[in-house]
Symmetry: C2
Subunit: 227 residues, 2 copies
DNA sequence: TCAACGAAAAATGAATGCAAAACGGAGCCA
DNA sequence: TGGCTCCGTTTTGCATTCATTTTTCGTTGA
């Protein structure tokens, strides 16, 4: 095991495997023999199997009876469904955020937005990507609902693998479109227009979805940016 | 073990325990010794422990390190958060349903709605309750998104215990209000007005939430209906 | 040649065993 | 009486073991 926190072995294995899968280190659909993973992680089969059950219930892996675990493969249909769930969660987060966000928080989002804009201008994709995530997380945070945050994280992690899969090739069109959408997001937030924000967030996410589906189709050939 | 399907022991235990907890057969916050449950279910500790980990990841139980499992206790704050998540999911389901629902499905909902109305008129709470659930499930179904349906089920099950807890005392005011809300729901659905439907569903659910919070406060003394 | 069969090997599902941590209560002291 | 410590018991976390199923692969026979 790599990490050595105070958490139980089980939790460490879950955290490690979740990250490992999200970061696309395991081939989708390929069988994952327990023995191999046990040796790699240095734990016995018991905590590993517990972890796999949990990940299966999270939807990250499939657990076929007597035939082991494999990374759940996402058909385009599944990807659409996951993004729709995410859109629903994020839209509601936006609505709640507009009711609850403080002026300070709005100022913080604005600051991040400007920073992201310069990253966009200077074509710094990595910085852009990170700032983008921070903005969305900040909206979630402003919604003041830990359960909602957790649910969002959960579903986000299930599609995140697709973005890792894509080698972050920059599709200029999609990127500038995403930037425009972010302008609208900020505007709605500043006006505390919950319905409008929800609407934009859904559209923003479903556009991401389209990009991710491209990735799914091209199977790692490097199309789609997932911004 | 009660059930004897072809599923693995693990899955049976998960299903049984989930239902057992949702139906409020275990005191909230009370320690659940593994040994007792094992004997009751007739399984060894391994599948039981796997099941508990899964239920913990679903948020139904708390798993304190070295101190066993207990049914997660919901503070009013938690209840609000869960209902908000549900509201977000159901609102988006409503939006999608308006885009995708067929005329036949609308007719089916209308039929159920009328049936529910007569249950309401004749004060048949049990019938009303069942029809109410069927209508909401039908909207979820019309959204055409299995993942969304699953997420909804998941979060619904986490608060369902509260309704079981309430002895279904009929609060006439809340009941007639819920019936009025259902009129609006149907109207929005017929007009396929997604935004309006989403709005009503959120309000409908947050009213349910208020009722559930009453239940939480009165701790089973029988207030709140959870309609 | 190749499809079908079958036994050996390997993987999974579940039970048991063992060490460490938490619980509980008797005894002790203020 | 009330609170503390200490020690035996119970419970939990994890490793190991056993039973069953699946997979592999060599063999056979058409």
């Amino acid at each position: 095991m790599v990490s050595e926190s105070a958490a139980s072995l089980h939790d460490e294995v879950v955290a490690f495997l979740r990250r490992y899968i999200i970061e696309d280190n395991l081939a989708e659909g390929e069988r994952i023999p327990e023995k191999i993973l046990c040796e790699q992680l240095g734990v016995s089969r018991t905590p590993l199997r517990e972890a796999l059950k949990v990940l299966a219930s999270e939807g990250l892996v499939d657990l076929l009876p007597n035939r082991g675990a494999r990374v759940r493969s996402l058909r385009p249909e599944d990807i659409r469904e996951l993004f729709e769930v995410l859109a629903g969660l994020e839209a509601h987060a936006g609505r709640l955020a507009c009711q609850r966000i403080t002026d300070e928080q709005i100022a913080a989002v604005e600051a991040l937005h400007l920073e992201m804009y310069s990253a966009f201008i200077s074509r710094d994709m990595t910085a852009y990507f990170g700032l983008n995530q921070r903005i969305h997380r900040m909206i979630l945070d402003a919604a003041g609902n830990k359960a909602l945050e957790l649910a969002h994280q959960n579903y986000a992690s299930r599609v995140q693998r697709l973005r890792f899969h894509a080698n972050r090739t920059k599709e200029w069109d999609r990127w500038s479109q995403a930037m425009r959408e972010h302008e609208l997001i900020l505007a709605a937030l500043v006006e505390r227009d919950g319905h409008r924000l929800a609407e934009i967030l859904v559209e923003h996410l479903m556009n991401k979805c389209a990009a991710a589906m491209d990735v799914g189709r091209m199977a790692g050939k490097g199309a789609g940016s997932g911004m």
